[in-house]
């Protein structure tokens, strides 16, 4: 069974204080690892897809990296508007496997 574990559950940072969120996964033949951002009461917003170990993607203050067992979401010099819950999900390989398995998320709070 595919499993995704995110840590920490919650993280409070001062504005400008860089840090990383972790997503550990177990999946048969990874076909993609996805990062989403979710604001309270809203649907998840797509951030990145990573396909193979060593791959990196960047968007503004966010950078996602991938190894064979985990992914990190690095946040550099965060601002209060980066406060949200960050979700990680994986898709297994094989034809017709459209299902994503999600972690429970990391709730990030940036204090001005």
């Amino acid at each position: 069974e595919d499993q995704v574990t995110q840590s920490p559950e919650a993280l409070r940072l001062q504005e400008g204080e860089s840090s990383s969120l972790n997503c550990s996964y177990t999946v048969s033949g990874l076909r993609g690892l996805f990062w989403y951002r979710q604001d309270p009461g809203k649907g998840p917003e797509f951030l990145f897809t990573l396909y193979s170990a060593g791959e990196e993607k960047e968007k503004e203050r966010l950078k996602a990296t991938l190894t064979k067992k985990e992914s990190f979401l690095h946040i550099t010099a965060p601002k209060p508007e980066d406060s949200a819950t960050y979700l990680c999900a994986v898709r297994r390989g094989g034809f017709g496997n459209e299902k994503l398995t999600f972690g429970t998320g990391t709730r990030l709070t940036i204090i001005p």
Binding site: R31, G32, F34, Y36, G41, K42, G43, P44, E45, F46, T49, Y51, L87, A89, R91, G96, E98, K99, L100, F102, G103, T104, G105
Partner: protein, 116 residues
């Protein structure tokens, strides 16, 4: 931009009522999904559809059914609502092409359902 819309943001229903949640996407996506999201449990897949009139069970299909009569529209039906179906319901869609951006699922704003 991909747009996925859901018929209601908030719903309050009584136990035993039949509930319809509707989702519409405007990007000609092949695949559509229904999830529920609960604190501490994350997003769990209820049903998905990869074509009109086609459906596949997800991880927690019990107590739910779905309908996809048109490509852009995917409905979730609670045949007889129960209090344990109080949750946030999220619809998503994806283009469906393997190995590229077409696999990304885009989500709607969610429907928060309260069953009394």
């Amino acid at each position: 931009d991909v747009k996925v819309t859901q018929s209601s943001r908030y719903l309050v229903k009584r136990t035993g009522e039949k509930v319809f949640l509707e989702c519409v996407q405007d990007m000609d996506h092949e695949n559509m999904f229904w999830y529920r999201q609960d604190p501490g449990l994350g997003l769990r897949l209820i049903y998905f559809s990869y074509d009109v009139k086609m459906k596949e069970k997800g991880d927690i299909p019990e107590g739910y059914s779905v309908s996809r009569e048109k490509k852009e529209r995917f409905s979730l039906i609670l045949e007889s609502a129960s209090t344990n179906q109080t949750s946030m319901y999220l619809c998503a869609s994806s283009f469906g092409l393997a190995g590229g951006p077409g696999e990304t699922q885009y989500f709607g704003p969610g429907t928060r359902l309260l069953v009394l």
